[in-house]
């Protein structure tokens, strides 16, 4: 059922073979992801996985060394026509610390004909963030909210956020994500959001899609609910899990008394005699993929 709906949906982002090389180092390679229009997608991976590289390629701040990206039907570029559709909040939240939020908004209104100043002011008022105080004197959480308000005042169709909550305390995180979820609700499917994080735990409720990057490569790109359905933990006797075309093993661990295997199912029916099937949460699945890529990288290094 969900598959039929998904093919009807337009993708806000579609990449194929996308890569970025710095000298001999591939920061991102062979990246093939699709992000459905109207989704809120988490881009997760450890530090150095290529998350920022991917986001910069999508904004058009970097040019790909290989492959291509189609964003809102266009190749990312630096024209005003393209950039007015995209809200981008860089990791360091670039704001002028001496200027107030109101100053920033005035600048935005001056630069962008579509600027919705009332919306930006209303957002900050709701959060009781002073408009007239220099942003350098606001808390980290408040600065992040000013950055988000500015990105949303552009009325973008795509919002790209690089580690928006990494530096925030737990309460500010929840506030930020609530603001974001409200914006998604208000846009009624017209806004697509991609936000990166090195952990999914903070984001998973707000997101309905996930992209896992590790060591510059795409490990997984899917609907979160689908991910939960197709990944299970098999618990059984010590010894190898029998090979089967019903699943692919992502991570195995053994003790003297039992073996655990986190698997991706090829079909939703599974039975392995003597093994129990357990549900796993999304965090465990993400960690398993990250661990898998690390192990692969280590063994590659050892072989060289």
């Amino acid at each position: 059922m969900t598959q039929a709906v998904q093919t009807k949906l337009k993708y806000a982002i579609e990449t194929s073979g996308l890569g970025k090389r710095y000298r001999s180092f591939w920061a991102l390679k062979d990246c093939a992801v699709t992000v459905p229009q109207g989704s809120v997608t988490a881009l997760v991976g450890p530090n150095g996985a290529g998350k920022t590289t991917l986001l910069k390629l999508l904004v058009g701040l970097n040019r790909p060394s290989a492959g291509a990206a189609v964003v809102l039907g266009q190749t990312p570029n630096q024209t005003t026509e393209y950039l007015s559709e995209i809200g981008y909040l860089a990791q360091e939240i670039p704001l002028y610390s001496q200027f107030s939020a109101a100053d920033h908004f005035a600048m935005g209104a001056h630069l962008d004909p579509r600027w919705d100043n009332d919306l930006a002011v209303k957002r900050l008022n709701e959060l009781k963030i002073p408009l007239d105080r220099p942003v350098g004197k606001l808390s980290g959480g408040q600065r992040a909210q000013v950055g988000l308000a500015m990105a949303l005042a552009k009325k973008p169709r795509l919002l790209l956020l690089d580690e928006p909550v990494a530096a925030l305390d737990p309460l500010a995180r929840v506030d930020f994500l609530t603001s974001l979820a409200q914006a998604a609700a208000d846009a009624d499917g017209e806004l697509t959001v991609v936000m990166s994080s090195h952990l999914l735990a903070d984001l998973e409720r707000v997101c309905d899609h996930v992209i896992i990057l590790a060591s510059g490569e795409t490990q997984l790109c899917d609907d979160i609910e689908q991910v939960l359905k197709t990944h299970k933990l098999l618990v059984g006797p010590p010894g190898a899990l029998p090979a089967s075309n019903e699943y692919i093993v992502i991570k195995e661990s053994r003790s003297s008394t039992a073996a655990h295997a986190l698997v991706r199912l090829s079909s939703l029916r599974i039975s392995v005699p003597g093994w129990h099937v357990r549900d796993v949460d999304i965090e465990e699945i993400v960690l398993a993929y990250m661990g898998q890529s690390r192990d692969a990288a280590t063994s590659e290094g050892a072989a060289q």
Binding site: T178, R205, L268, R269, S271
Partner: protein
């Protein structure tokens, strides 16, 4: 009504909302005609993806637990009729018999529960298959 989403359960958030509404209806906390929070209110309450709430409400509507009145909101409807008490008692008696069998076979409670959960899950897998072919 207040929702609570656990991210540690492996149960998709939309299903958690569905289960909580059903539970509140069964417990009488949500009665026929009571208004459910609007999607944006739920989003504000628990910082959740709006599509998840929409999906949960749609599932509940399809199952007859709630109804949408356009322009006004979403309301609890009369809960779908439960099987008559006799049927439930009969099912429980069968289950008791089965539990006695597991005891006789030397299985402890946990082992019996694991079997039961596995059987439920396999059935669930079958119905997922069926729904995905639609």
């Amino acid at each position: 009504m207040i929702f609570h989403i656990s991210s540690r359960s492996g149960v998709p958030p939309y299903l958690q909302i569905v289960q909580q509404v059903k539970q509140d209806i069964r417990l009488g906390l949500l009665e026929e005609g009571d208004k459910l929070p609007a999607v944006r209110e739920v989003v504000t309450m628990i910082a959740i993806n709006p599509n998840t709430v929409v999906k949960a409400y749609r599932a509940l509507e399809a199952q007859g637990y709630i109804e949408k009145r356009s322009g006004i909101g979403t309301f609890a409807s009369k809960p779908p009729p439960a099987p008559p008490p006799g049927v439930q008692a009969a099912l429980l008696a069968k289950l008791n018999e089965w539990i006695a069998e597991t005891k006789a076979a030397g299985l402890d409670e946990e082992a019996a529960e694991a079997l039961f959960t596995t059987a439920l899950r396999n059935k669930r897998g079958e119905s997922h298959d069926a729904s995905s072919t639609n």
